[in-house]
Amino acid sequence: MNILPQPFGIHETALRAKSRQLELLASNLANADTPHFKARAIDFKQVMGQVQQDALKTTDTRHFPLGEDAGSADGVKYRVPFSASVDGNTVEMSVEQAQYGKTATEYRASLMFIENRTNSIKRALRGE
């Protein structure tokens, strides 16, 4: 019996995608001084779009509702820099820092949604 097929909805996938994004941004920041390094980031539109397609493709009750690796599915793309640098490095410190801050905030938001959900499920179980 499966009462709650997807207790956390899209946030589970979102959290996985966000943590992958944080990892890529950390890698970009680490290689800010590496010649010829190309900055990479996740295309969320593609990753989350895949999730929705996968959800539609579950045609049997025994199918898992979301692909286990839906969040870590590739969607990694190279950044187009605002201004090219001579050494071929496309990491732009300000862009990466801003993105890192944004993604960290979005990660916190997803965490909060999951926390709220666990709280309400608990309350339902207690019958309050």
Binding site: S19, E23, A30, N31, A32, G101, T118
Partner: protein
Amino acid sequence: MSISNIFGIASTALNAQLVRLNLTASNIANASVVAPSEGEAFRAKRPVFQALLDKEKLNAGAQYLGGVKIHSIVDDKTPAPTIYDPTHPQADANGYVYKSNVNEVGEMVNMLGAARSYQNNVEVVNTARELMLRTIDIAKT
């Protein structure tokens, strides 16, 4: 998992920036060294960074795919400036001594760059740690 990878990636960057900072310190310390020949003159050392993107090149279990490493340390190829000083104990037959090719102003700028990059990566670790702690806290609610 991904968040714990960030610690590995950031630590490779901290390590690389620290090597760069060390080289800068060494260059500045040797800025006024003179030598009796062009070949013996001190040359500024420069780190060459390389991204760790190849899975095969990593040690098994090491979690720093996407980090950075010091590929090699190369000498600055700028010719060593010569100074005519026949009274100098290290002067050659023609009375010349060879100074190191360290550009002190350039080294100071390099030092600031390395320090800023280091701080940047410390900040990355701080944020990742905070997010990880909050994720663990879900289990407590």
